[in-house]
C-alpha cells in the first residue's frame, strides 16, 4: 500500500483549491487571484525571506494549473494579466485553457536536485579495510581528510562501492520525480529540471506527489466546475467506488450523495453501477475467448501496456472502464448535461479527454476544497439511500477487487469449470505491472486474467485521495463485508 503522507506541498495545493473555489462562489475571484501568493504565504517576523519568495512563486505558478490553464502558454504571464480573460478561462472557452495537457513542470521552481550520483556520507568511519576502494573497478575512491572521497572524473556510477560499504555510508542521491516514474517518462535532456515525455507518461501522478518542491503539477478542472456550480448550471456528478471514507470515517455514502446535491449537482450516480456492467461484460469476454485478458479500468495501466508492451496490447479488455461506460450511458439519456467524475485519479483526466466523456474530472482533494468553500458539512447531511451496485463492484477500488468481480460474474453465469482453471495475476502498483508484463512477454508466466492497477493498493491509494489509504481500505471492507482478496 502506498504510504500517504500529508506534506506541506499537498496542503499548499489544497489551500489554493480552497481559495480559488471560495473566490468563485463569493464572486470576488478577479480581485483575489493576484493577491493569493501573499495571502497564502504571509511574512512573519523572523522568517527566512528568500524562502517566502520561493514559496510565493510556487503558489503563483500552481494557481495557473488550478485554473485549468495550459502552462506552456501562460508560463510567462503574471497573475493580474490572467484576470482580464478570467470569464473565458472559467467557462473553459479561452485559448489559454488546457485541452490535452494534464501534467506540467514548473521548471524555474524545480530545485534541480543533483540526482543519479553516489555520495559518501558522514557515516563513513574511515575504516582500515577500505572495501569501497577495493571494490571500485575504476580506482575512483581515495581517502581524503579521514573520509572516502569519490573522484567524479573517474566514477562511472556503477554503485559497487555503495554495495560493499559495511556501514552503508555511500548512497545514491536520486531525484524523487525520476525514481518514482516507472515508465521512465522523465528525462533530463541537458537540463537540470525534468522533462516529461508525453508519449511515455501514463499520467499516474507519482512524480507530482513525490516532488518535495512542488515543481510538478496537474491541470485541474476545479475552477470550471466551481464556476458552473456558482451559476447554478445543471450538472451530473458520478463518483468512483473509492469515495468510501474519503470525507472522513464519519460520513456515510448516503450523506456523501446528499452533500454532492447540496453543492449543486442535479443528479448523483455511483460509478460502481458501471463497474458491475464492466465486470459482467469482461466475464462474458473471458468465457468466449481463449486468449488472456488484461483489465481496462486503470487508464495508467492501459497506456503503460500500449506504450511499453505493444505486443501485448491486443489482450487489453475491449470493455470500456466503469467511468466511461456510465458516462456514455448518461450522455445518451441527456446529451446536454455536463458530467463531472470525482475520483482519486489523475490518469482519469486523460482518459476522459481521450473518450470525450465525462466533461470534467475532479479528485477527492478538489471535491473536498469545493465542500469546504461552500461550507457544506457532509457529516451533517441527512443522507439518501440509492445503493444499486453490488459490493463486488465497490471493490474495484482496491487492488485485486476487479479480478474478484470478474470471477464473481463468471460464477454467476455458471462458468465454474472456467473459474477452477483460471490463472489470475494481480499486479499491484506500476512497478509490479512492469514485472508481470515483462514475465509474460518473456514467456516465463501465463495468465488468463491480469488485473493491473498503477497505484500501489489500488484506487484507494490514488494521488488525489483525502484519506489515508489504509483507513479507506478498512472502511471499504467493513462497509461491504469484503473478505480478503485471493491472489
Amino acid at each position: 500500500m502506498r504510504r500517504h503522507i500529508l506534506n506541506d506541498i499537498i496542503k499548499l495545493r489544497r489551500k489554493i483549491y480552497l481559495e480559488i473555489s471560495k473566490g468563485i462562489f463569493e464572486g470576488n475571484i478577479k480581485e483575489r487571484i493576484p493577491k493569493l501568493p501573499k495571502i497564502l504565504i504571509p511574512v512573519k517576523n523572523g522568517d527566512h525571506k528568500p524562502r517566502i519568495f520561493y514559496e510565493r512563486e510556487i503558489v503563483k505558478e500552481k494557481i495557473k494549473f488550478a485554473l485549468g490553464l495550459n502552462y506552456d502558454k501562460v508560463k510567462d504571464l503574471e497573475l493580474y494579466e490572467l484576470t482580464e480573460s478570467l470569464d473565458e478561462i472559467l467557462s473553459g472557452t479561452s485559448p489559454l485553457n488546457a485541452k490535452t495537457k494534464h501534467m506540467g513542470v514548473i521548471s524555474h521552481v524545480c530545485n534541480e536536485c543533483p540526482g543519479g550520483r553516489f555520495y559518501v556520507t558522514d557515516l563513513c568511519r574511515n575504516c582500515l579495510a577500505h572495501t569501497c576502494m577495493s571494490s571500485c573497478p575504476r580506482k575512483a575512491i581515495e581517502i581524503s581528510d579521514g573520509k572516502a572521497l569519490i573522484n567524479r572524473d573517474k566514477c562511472i556510477n556503477c554503485g559497487l562501492c555503495a554495495l560493499s560499504c559495511p556501514y552503508k555510508a555511500i548512497m545514491k542521491l536520486e531525484r524523487p520525480c525520476e525514481s518514482s516514474c516507472v515508465p521512465r517518462a522523465i528525462t533530463f535532456e541537458g537540463t537540470m529540471f525534468p522533462i516529461i515525455s508525453e508519449e511515455k507518461c501514463v499520467t499516474c501522478g507519482m512524480c507530482e506527489i513525490s516532488c518535495p518542491f512542488g515543481a510538478i503539477e496537474t491541470v485541474s478542472n476545479i475552477a470550471q466546475v466551481a464556476f458552473k456550480l456558482s451559476r447554478k448550471e445543471k450538472m451530473t456528478v458520478i463518483f468512483a467506488p473509492s469515495a468510501v471514507g474519503q470525507m472522513g470515517g464519519r460520513v456515510t455514502l448516503e450523506q456523501f450523495r446528499t452533500a454532492l446535491r447540496e453543492l449543486g449537482f442535479h443528479s448523483v450516480y455511483e460509478v460502481a453501477i458501471g463497474a458491475d456492467w464492466v465486470a459482467e461484460a469482461e466475464a462474458r469476454h473471458l468465457s468466449r475467448h481463449s486468449e488472456p485478458m488484461f483489465t481496462s479500468c486503470c487508464p495508467a495501466f492501459v497506456k503503460f501496456i500500449k506504450t511499453r508492451f505493444q505486443s501485448l496490447s491486443s489482450y487489453i479488455s475491449p470493455v470500456p472502464s466503469p467511468m466511461i461506460a456510465l458516462a456514455k450511458k448518461l450522455k445518451e439519456k441527456d446529451p446536454c448535461v455536463p458530467i463531472v467524475f470525482v475520483g482519486p485519479c489523475i490518469a482519469k483526466k486523460r482518459e476522459a479527454v481521450e473518450n470525450g466523456v465525462p466533461d470534467f474530472v475532479l479528485t477527492f482533494e478538489e471535491l473536498g476544497a469545493l465542500f469546504a468553500a461552500a461550507q457544506i458539512e457532509p457529516s451533517q447531511c441527512e443522507g439518501e439511500d440509492e445503493r444499486k451496485a453490488t459490493p463486488t463492484a465497490w471493490n474495484f477500488a482496491s487492488s485485486g477487487g476487479v479480478a474478484k468481480a470478474v470471477v464473481f460474474y463468471l460464477e454467476k453465469a455458471g462458468e465454474y469449470e472456467l473459474v477452477q482453471n483460471l490463472s489470475i495475476g494481480v499486479a499491484n502498483g506500476l512497478a509490479e505491472c512492469e514485472e508481470t508484463l515483462n514475465s509474460i512477454t518473456k514467456g516465463k508466466i501465463e495468465y488468463d486474467l491480469v488485473e493491473g492497477m498503477a497505484c500501489e493498493g489500488g484506487c484507494v491509494a490514488g494521488p488525489g485521495v483525502l484519506t489515508d489509504p489504509r483507513m479507506a481500505l478498512k472502511e471499504l471492507k467493513r462497509l461491504f463485508n469484503l473478505n480478503e482478496v485471493r491472489k
Binding site: 500529508l6 496542503k11 489544497r14 489551500k15 480552497l18 470525507m247 472522513g248 470515517g249 464519519r250 482533494e365 473536498g368 476544497a369 465542500f371 469546504a372 461550507q375 457544506i376 458539512e377 457532509p378 457529516s379 451533517q380 483525502l466 484519506t467 489515508d468 489504509r470 483507513m471
Partner: protein, 85 residues
C-alpha cells in the same frame, strides 16, 4: 486515577481537507501507556477556523490548537501525559 486528557479533533470539512484524518491515525497509533490517559472525541466544526484559527484545529482540555500536525500533537500529548501521571 488521574483525570483524562480530553482531545477533540475537528472532523469538519475544512479540517478534514487539511489533514484531520491523519491526526486521528496519530491518536490511534499512540502507545497503550499514553492512550489510556487520553479521551478522544471527534468533533464537528468548532467554528473557529473562519476567524484567526487555521485548520486542522484540535481542542485539548478546552484549549484550541490550530495548524496541528501529527508530530506536534504527539509531542504535546506526551508532555501532558507525563505531567498528569
Amino acid at each position: 486515577m488521574d483525570e483524562k486528557i480530553t482531545v477533540e479533533v475537528c472532523v469538519g470539512t475544512s479540517c478534514h481537507l487539511m489533514g484531520s484524518s491523519v491526526l486521528i491515525s496519530t491518536l490511534e497509533e499512540l502507545s497503550a501507556d499514553i492512550a489510556r490517559k487520553i479521551k478522544t472525541k471527534l468533533s464537528l466544526c468548532f467554528e473557529v477556523c473562519h476567524g484567526d484559527k487555521n485548520p486542522p484545529v484540535v481542542r485539548i482540555n478546552g484549549d484550541f490548537y490550530d495548524e496541528m500536525t501529527p508530530d506536534r500533537l504527539r509531542e504535546l500529548l506526551l508532555k501532558m501525559a507525563g505531567e498528569t501521571s
